[in-house]
Amino acid sequence: MAGHSDSSSSEKKSGEAMTDVPTFSAENLQNNMKVIYYSRTFMSITGGVIAGIFGFTGFVGFIFYFLVMTITSIGLIAKAKFSVHSYFDSWNRIILDGLMGGLMSFVLFWTFAYDIVHIF
């Protein structure tokens, strides 16, 4: 996944632990969310093409999708050097956001690749 972490632009520090009250720079937080969105979309498209070429059908394909999403999450967390709270406001963001949106792109490219390769 080295190509993946290079393609996402740098994430900016959005949380400062300077006081007891956590403060967030909204603009940086939004930028980080955009980075997550782009990464997930790109990975779902690639994952869709791979699933189609391999010929996964049915349930296995969806499991593959969630596997790809997990790998993306791990990659993003690693890029944030494991200190998620200084880049995002909660764990849920980096793990769950954009999951369903990517699903549609995944299904499209999965169907496309599967048809082209297997039912040609």
């Binding site: 006081t19 498209i45 049915g58 299904v107 499209l108 048809d115 082209i116």
Partner: protein, 246 residues
């Protein structure tokens, strides 16, 4: 039941790929057209003023904990004061602003243009797909669905023993419609993808902006409890400076 149909190679070449390519191109075209057609409207002075007041109130709410309690309270009174506070809008004026918003011809035209530029390409493409590509099996979706989806997905195919996984080109069109949103946001940058439902909702909520948001901001300011967040800030400064010296 689950026999493997052998589908003609020509279908791949002349249906799936052209349809996807056409949809991508239409999306790109629509993006550029909407960029060109964006008329610059001269903003109304009163509305801009109100907008700026709202932004100030919001900043006050966001940064409330960083200023001493007394100055926060005096600022809040400035905004929420009954007689001449900036956020307090008497009921009579409220109705006026709404009516003005709706009868403003420029804004209505803009909204209509945006809606049209969204709907027309979709309708045209759908009609084109229906005309040319109906009546045969176009693709096989790799996962099984229940029988209830049959009528939705297999529109032109009149055989009832064909597996539900084999779908007509209409469903390929819809699949493309939803799936290419992600691709558009990657290519065209910054979510210029067509989020149909979201945009429709945004457009319909346009007319009520100034009045309701003023009273909403007022209530928001009233609610804020001031917690002075920087009491120990001299201690922290000391700690940080000590670290630097060491």
């Amino acid at each position: 039941m689950a026999e493997d149909l052998v589908l003609d190679t020509a279908i791949r070449d002349w249906v799936l790929i052209p349809l996807s390519v056409v949809m991508v191109l239409i999306g790109i075209l629509r993006y550029f057209v909407s960029k060109l057609m964006r008329s610059s409207q001269v903003p109304d002075l009163k509305i801009v003023k109100e907008g700026q007041v709202i932004v100030r109130a919001r900043n006050l709410r966001a940064g409330a904990n960083f200023i001493p309690p007394k100055s926060f309270r005096s600022r809040r009174v400035y905004f929420n004061n009954e007689e001449n506070g900036l956020l307090f809008v008497p009921k009579g004026q409220a109705q006026n602003a709404q009516a003005q918003m709706f009868s403003d011809p420029n804004m209505a035209m803009d909204m209509m243009k945006k809606n049209l530029s969204m709907i027309i390409p979709q309708t045209l493409t759908f009609a084109w797909v229906n005309f040319f590509f109906s009546g045969f099996v176009a693709a096989k979706i790799p996962f099984p669905l229940t029988q209830r989806f049959r009528s939705m997905l297999q529109n032109g195919i009149d055989l009832s023993t064909v597996d539900v996984s084999y779908v007509s080109s209409r469903s390929w069109y819809f699949l493309n419609l939803f799936g290419l949103r992600g691709l558009f946001s990657l290519i065209l940058g910054e979510e210029n993808a067509m989020d149909d439902t979201q945009r429709m909702m945004q457009m319909s909520g346009f007319g009520f902006d100034p009045t309701k948001s003023l009273s909403a901001e007022k209530d928001g300011l009233d609610i804020v409890q001031h917690e002075w967040a920087l009491p120990k800030f001299e201690h922290r400064a000391e700690v940080v400076l000590k670290k630097l010296i060491r």
